[in-house]
């Protein structure tokens, strides 16, 4: 990146003001990355998610625009761009207009420390994971701003709910990151990933029972922070019309949901980097480019699997009540996260280099659970009518 800029400057293409050129190049590149990666990702996820829910509910989902409805997200985007941009009377117009951008910003900023592979990372900050959790919390500012500026009671309640929810769940989320920091002694994304191996028993999720629980708590907290079902109280359409998004229209409305779908990737990436071994892939080749591509694929497969699980959870669980939401956070997650932290500290004190045996036991346990799960799935499939099995596309 820097060498590229230096080369450009040295070639004399852009005059001599190298910092200006650097800023320009970064600006253009980030625009390209945003338009070329983040935006289509959010769009495609929206289509995949609708298909996944549909299948879970025995429906078909969008299947008209493009092959199997694949271009539905583009059609939706065009539709929203064409819609009128309404700013309600008596609303705080400036804040009302800024709010969606803040939410999108909270979704774009974490990409800076996204560890796609061993060298494909924009900036390997030595406070990477801290940066990631803090900038994703910017969502609460945007949502609260949207709720307040709309001058609408539904929106206000939605925004306040969002604030309560995101601020609460920051605590168990942060506390669940601590065990990993304790084990690796670093906050950098790459440092944490390098502390793990490529094989599942070397992942931090299977390092000890405490990290396993921490991974689950972090995942659920991240879902809550991302306003995902079962924690989508801020835009609960059955109680609050659409919550903080009630007064929005057109592209501004879509921005909120783009950020939500994009956040799925961030959630998956945090879990993958912290607990699932990140981009770790066995050294099969000396070629650095090929190696990086393999790592990129590994990372993305893991993240997308988690994205799928988020959709699956959303298709399964109903929305929780606000008091249940708070009780889950404060009565269950926070104390358990504290116990995790202390437990991991003791564990690390006893086995500073980790306990390899535990990894195998935990992996075996996970496989047993997976087998039981598959048995249950087969049990439920058997109870359905025979001719309805395995006909995936329509």
């Amino acid at each position: 990146m820097e060498t590229l800029i230096h080369n450009l400057v040295a070639a004399g293409t852009f005059g001599t003001n190298s910092s200006l050129v650097a800023a320009l190049v970064i600006f253009v590149l980030s625009a390209v990355v945003f338009l070329g990666v983040a935006f289509p990702f959010a769009g495609i996820v929206s289509w995949v998610e609708r298909r996944v829910w549909a299948r879970i509910q025995s429906r078909v989902g969008p299947n008209r625009v493009g092959p199997n409805g694949f271009l539905q997200w583009l059609a939706d985007g065009v539709k929203h761009v064409c819609k009128e941009d309404i700013v309600p009377d008596d609303s705080d117009a400036t804040l009302f207009k800024i709010a969606p951008y803040l939410v999108v910003l909270a979704f774009v900023l974490p990409w800076a420390v996204m560890p796609f592979s061993s060298s494909l990372i924009l900036a390997d900050l030595n406070v990477g994971i801290l940066y990631m959790t803090s900038v994703t919390a910017l969502t609460v500012v945007g949502v609260l701003m949207a709720g307040w500026a709309s001058n609408d009671k539904w929106s206000l309640i939605g925004g306040i709910r969002s604030a309560a929810q995101i601020v609460s769940y920051e605590i168990p989320a942060g506390l669940s990151i601590f065990p990993i920091v304790l084990m690796t002694g670093t906050l950098s994304m790459q440092g944490i990933i390098k502390g793990q191996g490529w094989a599942p028993q070397h992942w931090f999720i299977f390092a000890n029972p405490f990290t396993f629980i921490a991974a689950n708590i972090l995942y659920v907290s991240a879902l809550a922070e991302g306003n995902r079902t079962p924690f989508d109280l801020p835009e609960a359409e059955s109680e609050l019309v659409a919550g903080f998004a009630t007064e929005y229209s057109g592209m501004r409305y879509l921005f909120f949901f783009m950020a939500e779908w994009g956040n799925l990737f961030i959630i998956g990436a945090i879990i993958t980097a912290l607990f699932l071994g990140g981009w770790q892939f066995p050294h099969v080749t000396k070629n650095p480019v090929l190696m990086n591509v393999l790592e990129l694929i590994t990372f993305n497969v893991k993240v997308l699997a988690l994205v799928f699980v988020s959709m699956w959870v959303r298709g399964t669980l109903p929305r929780v009540r606000i008091d249940q939401l708070m009780s889950v956070c404060w009565k269950y997650f926070v104390p358990i996260a504290f116990i995790n932290m202390i437990g991991t500290a003791i564990w690390v004190a006893i086995w500073p280099d980790g306990n390899a045996f535990m990894g195998y036991i935990m992996l075996a346990g996970a496989i047993v659970v997976a087998v039981i799960f598959i048995q249950r799935v087969i049990f439920y499939l058997r109870r359905s009518r025979m001719e309805m099995y395995f006909k995936p596309t329509i």
């Binding site: 996944v52 549909a54 879970i56 699956w312 399964t316 269950y332 799935v377 439920y380 329509i394």
Partner: protein, 202 residues
């Protein structure tokens, strides 16, 4: 102690219900959707799959309409407009207008009940969407037609017989459950349904 055990019990219950729920949805993920992809991508027209006696958009068979206005009077919301006059020359009843405003109609079926000949009846058609209210008015009379003159006797028009027959067959088949003549009824009903004109001879 109960507090702690309740706490642990809660966690256990949460985990097990989510586990079970996820298994159910995963099994649904591998099943075929039930969705009928109306209006295109269908094996048969939806109209053909609707049940007998479906109350769709009304239709008037002007050839057997007697011009008695019973339907107009029966309609609670006045969506039927009939103009029937005596032709001064031939002294016959002439129907010069028969409109049904399907924008108003609520498909209650009250109009088809008093009709002596079964001329006004529901179809299985239900797609009435249009761009203007005007075009939702169904005008059945293009040129004035001579009203049907019923014959004397209990059974008047051959055209009604199959309709009646079908209705009776339907009742026999479905509306008397558990009767010991079920099989026979069903055979008779099937026969009647297959040959709607069987009543002609009777």
């Amino acid at each position: 102690m109960t507090g702690v055990s309740a706490y642990v019990q809660n966690i256990k219950q949460t985990v097990s219900t989510i586990f079970e729920g996820m298994a159910i949805t995963a099994s649904h993920f591998m099943r075929k959707p039930y969705t009928v992809q109306y209006p295109d991508r269908m094996a048969v027209r939806v109209q053909d799959t609707l049940p007998f006696r479906y109350r769709g958009i009304l239709e008037v068979d002007l050839e057997i309409c007697t011009g008695c206005l019973a339907c107009e009077r029966a309609c609670p919301i006045d969506c039927i407009t009939i103009v029937a006059d005596k032709d001064p020359v031939t002294k016959q009843l002439l129907l010069s207008q028969f409109d049904i405003d399907i924008a108003k109609c609520m498909y209650c079926g009250l109009c088809s009940e008093p009709c002596p000949t079964g001329s006004i009846h529901h179809t299985t058609e239900f797609e009435g969407a249009d761009y203007s209210l005007e075009s939702l008015i169904r005008r059945f009379v293009k040129d004035p037609v001579i009203a049907y003159k019923p014959k004397k006797g209990p059974e008047t028009d051959p055209r009604i017989a199959p309709i009646l027959n079908r209705g009776m067959a339907y009742l026999d088949q479905w509306a008397i459950p558990g009767s010991d003549k079920d099989a026979a009824n069903k055979a008779a009903a099937d026969k009647a349904l297959d040959q709607p004109d069987a009543g002609d001879a009777a």
